[in-house]
Assembly symmetry: C2
Homo-oligomer: 325 residues x 2
């Protein structure tokens, strides 16, 4: 038999790794790589098939084996550079750059970072610090991927964490809590934790945490405050951040406005007014932001609502006028 214990299992891992590279592998070449005979390669291919990994074969002079999509996700074997790319991409996604899947991105990231060799982790950190961020006017405060994964790791390891927290009133306090879940709701990250000192559950806005660190002390798990933690978080959140909004009549066809505004139109609307104009309704954090973004249209407009927006437009008009003297 082969020279080491677990030779068959190990060889199956190696075979799977080879088969995930984007090429075909003739049986004789696999046999050479794996130091066995071609009959054993065929045995191994049959074992992988039995385990649910669909290996496809092509006969003939340019034939060979390759792995194709089946009904289940096989284990994914990534090269170093690929693993780094996945980690950076997931960090970006879990930070909100891709809306709607922050939590699943974070779960995948946590899983990857749990097994990512340290030398690759440093590469991820280096790349992250140079990664282009979305425009400052993105929705929701940006949250550092490091912080999210630190919290997720502590929750996984059942370790208490400590941080400085400033609530809505601005008052600061140091907290030592048992982290349970990270929930993404309303484009923000919330931590659901148990505070032993207050003997009760608390929800924390992750972007308000400072100096977050793991304590190394472990805790026994408690039952969560609700079956659906995301709903529980939502029910705890009261006033949605007040937003500015406005309406402007734009001398541009509606479809051009949609094309230029794209994602910024979420929550707003465009109503045609004839062939060459339309009524644009949009929101932003402040009226100054609204006034600024109207500039992206590169078209004449009139302010329909509100007086605050008209005031912000006038301020911006004054600034550009002074600059063009």
């Amino acid at each position: 038999m082969s020279e080491t214990p677990t030779a068959t299992s190990g060889r199956l891992f190696s075979l799977l790794s080879l088969l995930q590279t984007p090429r075909e592998w003739p049986g004789p070449e696999l046999a050479s790589r794996l130091h066995v005979t071609t009959r054993t390669v065929r045995n191994d291919v049959e074992r992988l098939r039995a385990l649910g990994y669909p290996v496809e074969a092509t006969r003939g002079p340019i034939g060979g084996y390759r792995l194709v999509a089946g009904t289940a996700m096989p284990p994914l074997l990534l090269e170093d550079e690929e693993a780094v790319a996945v980690a950076v991409s997931l960090r970006t996604a879990s930070g909100g750059a891709v809306s709607g899947m922050e939590e699943s991105a974070l779960r995948a990231l946590t899983k990857l970072q749990q097994v990512l060799p340290k030398r690759l982790g440093h590469r991820v950190d280096a790349l992250q610090s140079h990664t282009a961020r979305v425009a400052p006017y993105s929705r929701g405060p940006a949250v550092d991927g490091d912080l999210l994964t630190l919290i997720a790791n502590a929750a996984r390891d059942r370790e208490l964490i400590r941080f400085d927290y400033s609530d809505r009133s601005g008052a600061g306090s140091e907290r030592k809590v048992e982290p349970y879940r990270l929930v993404n709701w309303g484009r923000r990250w919330y931590l659901v934790a148990f505070d032993p000192q207050r003997d009760d559950w608390r929800t924390f806005r992750v972007d308000r945490l400072k100096e977050t660190r793991s304590t190394g002390h472990r805790f026994r798990l408690r039952d969560l405050p609700a079956e659906d933690v995301a709903q529980w978080v939502a029910s705890k959140i009261r006033a949605v951040q007040q937003q500015a909004y406005g309406k402007v009549l734009v001398r541009l066809p509606a479809q051009d406005v949609v094309a230029r505004m794209g994602p910024w139109l979420e929550g707003g609307g465009v109503e045609p007014r004839g062939d060459a104009a339309c009524l644009l309704t949009m929101g932003a954090r402040t009226h100054a932001d609204l006034a600024f973004w109207i500039g992206v249209l590169d078209a004449d407009f009139e302010v329909v609502e509100s007086p605050e927006l008209a005031e912000a437009v006038a301020r911006l008009a004054g600034r550009y006028a002074r600059a063009s003297r």
Copy 2:
């Protein structure tokens, strides 16, 4: 022995999958899940360790096993939602949202899509169509992730592709080529292909391809035109797209400008002029774009260079002035 062939190997895959979830697993619980005795679980843990996957153990009443980072990347076992999140994140990254790693992101994406079950692929497509894109003023033309993976898959499978192509002069032609490499250079994607009809290598801008489809016909690989294909592509590219640039004196401290401009400053610079002002140098595709982005600063400014920028600022000033009457 256990009831099926490949029982040991299959069980190792299952064990690896369980160990990648973010929790600890006591031996007796693993034994129950895997339908073996705890001694066999310990045997299996030893096999995984021999294969390079470091399983850490904690003794005591809340003890158990978990997988930690070693020196090699283990096979990554993703849940359905996590795999979808990775695929969408990688598509976003390979489309240019994360600069500097488009190619490794594309390689990872190609590898993932090769094995992603179709039912998850549909989820990825659906999510992608709802994914928020970066601002229209991103750098380089956006390229659809689908198109990149179609080309990458055809290259992997050695299948000829056909597409309509419009070159710089605007002339269109239908091409049938052998795709070899996708290269990201200067924030654009290029396809390196062999054109059998012209019997020569050609480089195509991916954003100029239309109606790209695989033909199903396969080809024999040729030697690439150069050892370093990326360098070869670079040498083929002549005139860099002309850019507009300008200098403005801004009444804002330099560090505030940096904070607000962030990634848009790449290629530009900020030089302090006293404590409350600075000279800002920046580039964009057009002077109109430059004039627009200066607005993000929310501060008074004067145009230092160039006359074209001053003209664009005056146009924008006029527009805001008319809107505020």
